[in-house]
Symmetry: C2
Subunit: 238 residues, 2 copies
DNA sequence: TAATGGAAACTAACATGTCAGATTATAGTT
DNA sequence: AACTATAATCTGACATGTTAGTTTCCATTA
């Protein structure tokens, strides 16, 4: 695990060129955040700081700083005087996050339907076309990327500079849950249809039908979640 | 400033009894967060770590940890190898935060209108009655407290455990801007009327009129903001 | 007077040592 | 064999020394 990470992230050689002014602590924070969100580190997995220091060739200070920051985002759980572990999932938290996510995405899609430009609509249509291609070829990862991009395009319509970043910060549990649900190819066709309904509503400039289409789209997640908890209970709390 | 703080927060004597298991870093974080949000520290004010260490009788490590955490919430700005200062306000950020705030509060009030209990409605009505009393006696601070409580009651209807905390984290600029606008007694009566419209919509179980009442209530803030920037430009960015 | 150069005094970032609480392993008891 | 007490070994919290980058300010120069 850590070996794999260190291949990706030898800070001095690979990552730094694009992040010249970044501190060690920031780099480690960024790398671990991405590793946790992409499930390279499993929920509940214990993070040992000392081996990390060795692998990265830094002292304990920047590693501790990075973990502190991850804790403040609920991505890791630091048990004082004891251990640090990756935050587990919980149905409760996922429900909470889903409420926040729905509130923001619904507000965004309503704004998008009201203020859309032709370029934005074209982007959505083009994205949707690609989705259909990858849905046919059952390329789950490519489809997932397009799905994320689809929602990003809508969020960006609002011109609220940190809206995508904010939503990502609020959706750490949901994002990991979605990744766990990914190997479910039967959802793809339904997803495309739901996306299509959203695009049509935006195109027609109808915020009401856009919001209800987005709402029912997002609520699909919860339905598929409870089987997941039974499938891998070790990733969940309580 | 710091003298005043240290009176409030001599960690060893005053604050710790209620927070036995809290680390120095957490305590300092908590104290400074509250001091910044309540404008005891002005936006743009430089925070010097060394005097803080002395006042609190701790080393630089917990102070640095606390500042790191405040930075990740955009409450302070750490300039690498240089200084740390309280984050300034900016109209851009306040607009962004207002979008997020509106999205969440509108979603909450819609939920409240759909799922209200008699007890919740009673709480709102009782809160509103108190608001009217303090509005007449022009007690701005008491009114502000009730205003916050009013919105809190609505948020709590959703039973999303971290909704109030999340909104607070997303509204650090808005909260400080509202405090700056506080000495404006002419707004109070309008505010009460807007609150009353929200309560009536919730009471009638009408989510549509509840959302539109909440929306127009929240949008009042922006209108009063631009004069503020002209009044105290040193608190704002660019 | 205005501009520039450089030293001094700041700061945050980082390395490292120490300590106390928590966990785990082990030995002893029932 | 199951339970408890204790010792060894983890961990994170904190103190402190060092380093390198920034800012400040004053002297020098155009």
């Amino acid at each position: 695990m850590i070996t794999h990470l260190s291949q990706q992230v030898d800070l001095k050689k690979v990552s730094l060129p694009d992040y010249h002014s970044e501190s060690f602590a920031e780099g480690i924070y960024r790398v671990f955040r991405e590793a946790i969100l992409s499930l390279d580190f499993k929920p509940g997995e214990i993070i040992r700081k000392r081996p990390i220091c060795q692998k990265f060739g830094v002292s304990r200070t920047p590693v501790a700083d990075a973990m502190l920051r991850l804790e403040s985002e609920s991505l890791v759980e630091i048990i004082p005087q004891s251990i640090t572990r990756v935050a587990k999932l919980s149905l409760r938290s996922i429900h909470d996050e889903s409420f926040l996510r729905e509130a923001l995405e619904v507000a965004a899609v309503a704004y998008a339907a009201k203020h859309r430009t032709q370029e934005q609509v074209d982007n959505l249509i083009s994205n949707l076309r690609s989705q259909k291609l990858f849905a046919e070829s059952k390329d789950l990862n490519a489809f997932y990327q397009l799905d994320e991009k689809f929602h990003l395009i809508i969020l960006e319509c609002c011109q609220v500079s940190n809206l995508p970043a904010t939503l990502e910060k609020l959706s750490t549990q949901v994002r990991r849950a979605r990744l766990l649900l990914l190997p479910n190819p039967s959802r793809i066709n339904n997803t495309v249809n739901e996306h299509e309904a959203i695009v049509k509503a935006i195109q027609m400039g109808n915020p009401d039908s856009a919001t209800s289409a987005m709402r029912s789209h997002l609520q699909q997640l919860i339905k598929h979640l409870e089987p997941l908890e039974k499938q891998c209970p070790e990733l969940f709390n309580v």
